[in-house]
């Protein structure tokens, strides 16, 4: 946090990251830079290492080789809560709400522990995030009464309570209807407009195409294509990875 990176330096630098589980290599020598304010799409078939990669970025897993540099600081060895305090927030592929709390209290956790130095009362900040996400009417509901799309939004809202510089959305649209996908996508795009860098993992291609400024495709733990969305989609190896040869 004390390190001030050069203005054009990338927000996140992943360098030669390798993660193995026993004999299985989940990530193989991954290097990628993500610019500040970028909307970054991460795609790849099931088991290609997308979630492992963001687990290494958010701290749930530690890689065997390689480093993760955030805002000019090497955070490879930091536990997740210290990364959250530095501004890395995430949602989970399968929503993991705090079940014994209301929606509002879910957000207060992040405001209590990850955010420092705010003059406004926490409840007000939490309410403004919920209003933003269209969840204000559910503030006092317990999370088990939420619908799937509300749960997904709650996860994003809770991530926003950390006041992230980098927001990682892990399949926030899985299992949603068309109109709900658009709803969540609009939310993510509007968050991207306020200087929050977003990494989005998604299987729904139309969403990835609409959202991303840059797309990276993983297959079997390796980067097989990276670049503009249309380019990546047109790439032969990407098509093979998805459709089979």
């Amino acid at each position: 946090m004390t390190v001030t990176a050069a203005p054009d330096a990338p927000l996140l630098q992943v360098e030669t990251l390798t993660k193995t589980f026993g004999g299985f290599t989940a990530l193989d020598n991954i290097s990628v830079d993500i610019r500040k304010g970028e909307r970054f799409g991460l795609i790849g078939p099931n088991g290609s290492g997308k979630t492992t990669l963001i687990n290494c970025i958010s701290g749930a897993l530690r890689p065997q080789i390689g480093s993760v540099v955030f805002c000019g600081e090497d955070i490879t060895q930091l536990p997740p809560h210290l990364r959250a305090r530095r501004g890395i927030a995430r949602s989970f592929q399968i929503p993991r709400p705090f079940k014994s709390m209301t929606v509002l209290e879910n957000l207060l956790v992040g405001l209590d522990f990850a955010t420092v130095g705010s003059n406004l009362p926490e409840e007000d900040v939490a309410m403004s995030i919920l209003t933003r996400m269209g969840l204000s009417s559910k503030a006092d509901a317990l999370t088990d009464t939420l619908s799937q799309v509300e749960l997904r939004k709650m996860e994003l809202a809770r991530a926003m309570a950390v006041r992230p510089k980098l927001l990682i959305s892990d399949e926030a649209m899985a299992g949603l209807s068309h109109s709900e996908v658009d709803e969540v996508l609009d939310l993510l795009i509007s968050l991207g407009e306020e200087d929050i860098t977003i990494i989005m993992i998604e299987h729904i291609m139309q969403a990835v195409m609409r959202f991303s400024e840059r797309v990276m495709c993983l297959d079997a733990g390796r980067i097989i294509a990276i670049g503009a969305p249309a380019e990546v989609m047109a790439n032969k190896r990407v098509q093979e990875a998805y459709l089979g040869t």
Partner: protein, 321 residues
Amino acid sequence: MNKRSHSIAFWAGVVIFLVAVLSMTQIVRNEYPFFAGYVILQFIALAVAWSILGGYAGYVNFGTNAFFGVGVYTAVALFKATGAPLVVQIAAAAVVGMLLGFGVGLLTLRMRGIFFSIATIALAIIIETCVMNWRFVGGAAGIQIQRPPVTAPFDSYVKMLFFVQAVLVVIAVSISRYIQNSRIGRGLQALRDDELAAECTGVPTLKLKLVACMISGALISAAGAPAAMYLQYADPSSAFNLSYSVSALAMALIGGTAHWIGPVLGAILLGSTQQLLAVTISSEVNVLVLGIMLVLFVVGAPKGIIGLLRPRYRLRAGGKP
């Protein structure tokens, strides 16, 4: 405003409780109510202390007896070596319990669920074995304790112990209530619900669990410290008896762990039932009743007494039920 009036009500309740206990020791002549009441108070303190780690954080600790026994033997060793007064014995027991909580926490809190519980059972066995082989405090045969003369305004030692245990209950409840209403409480609740999600939301889970384990350990050991003076005797197999673990756990669960009042209610209900049965039927029936009640509550009211009182009761709903 609401929170503040809750606070005032709470502290008023505390003062009334302590005044009532104190005047009872001055007015009532019969010793038996104090003898029985001490045990109930002891179980309230144990259940409340257990609930800080077991309830708020959801780490089911089966090692209450380890902390209890350590409290007993810290007091015994200190009393035999220096003749230190009761207050010093209790304070020392709390410090030792806290250190033990720190050590045990570092070793075991990375384990989850049943693995943590098993590790804490092992802890009690290890410490009990050590104490059994410690000649200075009597080893396996136990040790007789000569009570020092009682201090004014009390006219009997049991009455004084009754008051002391009441103070320990107040301390345990105040700390438990403070944790529940603080940032720590919210963090513990978050990590109980989902540890990874809590970490990723900025909650320092290991640190909070350690803090909870230390506070819980210190309070359990402190509650155990006067036991040797109460019985005028201490031996490893009763000081490290597994029934302390089972009782503390059962009382907290039957009362409900989502609010500090839960363990208090559970301990009063079970503790007084046990005392009543011990007098009217036999002391062995206790265990049976404990088991039956636990089964009934697990099936009929999984959130305990407070869950029955208010079905949607939530942890952070304020200071009073």
